[in-house]
Symmetry: C2
Subunit: 525 residues, 2 copies
């Protein structure tokens, strides 16, 4: 116990030293409700080339296989006659709920009207995010029902946890996007949860966010709240909201997902269409098949959005996993990384933005495994050219559980990834020829003019990564990264100040929620 | 204490389950002294393209800056008149110990005779390693004076630790190379250490290894031992030994390194010439300058080896770090990763194999930070096209300390990296069209023919990464990756069986060592 309390004491000391409240105030933030969260940049601009993992011949083969799949096997659109009618009108072959597409048909629909790039507005215009091209934005995890921290064992997540992660996301310079279901607020009835989640994004942050997709009705609720926030005209003319549409792989889109997709598309809002393929279950056990299947499924969803409203913002997604033969559990090793790299090439050939996976790990705790898996996958996702990277921070257990500590260490990695994407400056001065003339062989560069001009900004600092000497590290309490992360999130939440929100808007949002909650059942469905 | 002993018990259970001894025996290994260590492949063949981070224009700019540096500032070759004479004869401008080179001169020397690829023999010919081209080999850490494990706090490394890491390297399917100073055996006098290290590589492993470089005399001792092992003719005609020559950056090669370099080159053995640039100290604080400086320094060393013996095997190396502004400590973030990626391009343009850095971390313990930093850097090193990756397993504290547990988790990552380099198979059957026809929309692929044919080998399994359910993980003792790694290395060492060695050779080696030790002083110099 003495050991434990000494460690807590050390963590508290780290909190004192690391408190961002001080530095935010030093930067001249206004008082209460107005302190800006630190902004590195509202998005990352890629300064390095895209990587051609597959050659054109191989990519054409994948596209051709996807087309064959769509033509021969087709997709099922379940319990949704309207969607079947849309496909029939567009010239697809509809047989019951099975729809088959001529080769090239979906690609032609998409390339006719889908935007290559678009901007999603944030209520703080400075934080609006461009989506597509050479831009990348990072968003927190999506959907974990559990949460844990060094303070408590794994338990169900609550609305308070949800708000906490929205706040921490708001305060992070490396999360550009508030996300969607950053964790499941299990203490709120399923039927009403979406209202509280949408409100938490609006009230506790000023970054762009995602709306509900678990039914058409809930999607409409999110849309109504966004309409209150942005105003009806702004909403009509801009992308202010996105919905994450998971395909019911293999080759199915059900009424729930189709309903939400149509609500967003019809309103000119964005949809991310994301096949979710667990090898062996929702797809075969090969990378090539995941590529052709995901491309087929993704094109079907995106093309539908274009038929509902030509020009509606769309993003092509993928979540593909390997499978662990000992446990039957999904796993993310080298194979899903390779899949994502090649899928990025397919998205660019199709001409739509790409959604990539994030800092995934199968680990149950923020240990070495969590570090290895999360950083490997996020690096590959970043290199793949992904434009929207969901799950960029927070989860382990393959997305089942949020960790407060991993959330902070993942963010730390994101800063590194943003620097990686900047690439190398090869302008003349960077070569420092004068410094070599000044210093000469065998001497050090610590005091030369070139170094003095640059040393403070030359390299990205990682706030959580310990670089001190062994002796200094011991003196500081021999803390692990998770222990420092623990101190950091406690400190950040303690100094959180929510961004200002127009009182009339806030009241209208609250009235809307009260009205909806009064008519929605408390059931679990 | 009850908690601790329960954890130890769980780890022991993991040892029982994980024991490779059983599986090795099952695979039909011979008895005592002959059990083969598991072999995945003696090297990794890259199946994915190289990544062009910089375009040709930028690369030419780097090369031109390197040439300007060599021409205007030059390099110093200290306390070594013979080397100065070699340069003078080759047409360089020699001014005291400062040597300046006409633009393009070193490149021309190198491209005239340096091999693009070569093979280093191992005493077990099946483990000989090709170096260069699209091949990659992984070697353990080099030089840490300290060691730690979950069993003991950080302490000085010993010869027993050295042997342990050689044994663990021998047993790993993902370390293709026995390495050099896998840790400093501090309990042996400096003057005699190289003999015990070389003997440990020979006696405890049958993989290829590196010799001493801390003086010309010690390099000759390593060479003499290799000559006993391989026989004089084989040594004369083949690369049987490599030496790691660190440049005394900036722009200096001293008599020690020059002496060792010439011994190896003259005997037709390999040298890895590795500039070691800590930003701000041994070089400016920009990536571009590290590229031009390292290229200049590396070319000088490699060209010298070619002048000593045209055709001598050489490898271009680099170790470049950022610097942490809070502590002044070297750090490895995105910048050194970018440096290595671009340097890989430069090595390929020059036409020599590349040595890349490895699983580096500044962390003091095998925590999340160690996982993040090590896996990020090794992934970039692998993507850079590095042919020899030293430090691929074991160290933290920026190379100062070996960790038995990190050694095992790093190896686990190497398996992942090897899979990554294989790339994607896009042959017809991989697309599984028949499986889709068989399964259809909305059904699972678990029982289909395509899955049954492939599932056992479809995805690389990670022996240390936990993929089980939360409940199963708890039942198994809630172990962290480090705890599993602890069990794994204990288990592996317990089941280690050394490879057979000809008794006459062994005796001759021991006689040689005894003779040398008798005349070498016990001093620390």
């Amino acid at each position: 116990m003495a050991g434990l309390s000494a460690r807590v004491h050390r963590m508290n000391e780290f909190i004192e030293k690391a408190s961002p409240a001080k530095s935010v105030r030093r930067r001249g933030g206004r008082k209460r409700e107005a302190a800006p969260s630190p902004v590195a940049a509202p998005f990352v601009t890629r300064g390095i080339p895209f990587f051609s993992l597959l050659d054109d011949d191989a990519l054409e083969r994948v596209e051709n296989e996807a087309d064959t799949l769509l033509q021969e096997v087709g997709m099922e659109f379940r319990n949704d006659p309207e969607t079947l009618a849309i496909w029939r009108d567009a010239g697809a072959s509809v047989d019951g709920e099975r729809v088959r597409f001529d080769k090239g048909m979906l690609r032609a629909i998409i390339q006719k009207s889908a935007p290559r790039e678009f901007t999603q507005l944030a209520r703080n215009k400075k934080r609006s995010v461009p989506i597509g091209g050479n831009k990348t934005i990072f968003a927190p995890a999506y959907g974990p029902p559990f949460v844990r921290s060094l303070e408590f064992e794994r338990r169900y997540a609550t609305l308070e946890d949800f708000r906490n992660f929205v706040k921490l996301t708001y305060m992070s310079p490396w999360l550009h996007y508030s996300g969607g279901v950053v964790c499941e607020p299990v203490d709120v009835p399923v039927s009403k949860r979406h209202l509280d989640m949408t409100y938490a994004h609006i009230r506790n942050s000023d970054k762009a966010f995602m709306g509900a997709v678990t039914s058409a009705e809930r999607a409409r609720d999110s849309l109504d709240m966004a309409r209150i926030l942005f105003g009806p005209e702004t909403l009509e003319e801009n992308c202010c909201l996105m919905g994450l549409i998971n395909v019911n792989s293999p080759l199915v889109l059900d009424a729930t997902m189709l309903g939400a997709l149509k609500v967003y598309a019809r309103a000119g809002q964005g949809t991310i269409v994301s096949p979710f393929i667990i090898a062996g279950a929702m797809g075969p056990v090969t990378i090539a098949s995941h590529l052709s299947q995901a491309l087929a499924e993704g094109m079907a969803g995106i093309a539908l959005a274009q038929l509902v409203r030509p020009g509606a913002p769309v993003v092509l997604g993928i979540l593909s996993t390997a499978i662990d033969m000992r446990s039957g559990a999904p796993s993310r090793g080298a194979e899903p990384m390779l899949t994502l790299m090649a899928y990025g090439q397919l998205a660019r050939r199709l001409g739509v933005p790409l959604r990539g996976g994030g800092s995934f790990s199968a680990s149950k705790i923020p240990d070495t495994q969590a570090g290895i898996e999360a950083s490997s996958f996020i690096m590959m996702s970043v290199l793949s050219g992904a434009n929207v990277i969901i799950h960029a921070a927070g989860s382990h257990e393959n997305g089942l559980c949020m960790s407060y500590e991993k959330f902070m260490s993942d963010i730390d990695t994101l800063g590194q990834m943003a620097r990686l994407l900047e690439g190398i400056d090869v302008s003349r001065d960077e070569f420092a020829l004068d410094a070599y003339r000044e210093v000469g062989p065998g001497e050090h560069f610590l005091g030369c003019a070139h170094t003095l001009e640059r040393y403070q900004t030359a390299f990205r600092e990682s706030p959580l990564s310990d670089k001190s000497s062994y002796e200094q590290w011991r003196e500081d309490g021999s803390l692990s990264m998770s222990e420092r992360a623990h101190a950091q999130w406690k400190s950040q939440l303690a100094s959180y100040e929510r961004p200002a929100l127009d009182i009339a808007v806030d009241e209208e949002l609250q009235e809307f929620m009260a009205r909806r909650k009064a008519v929605l059942p408390d059931g679990v469905a």
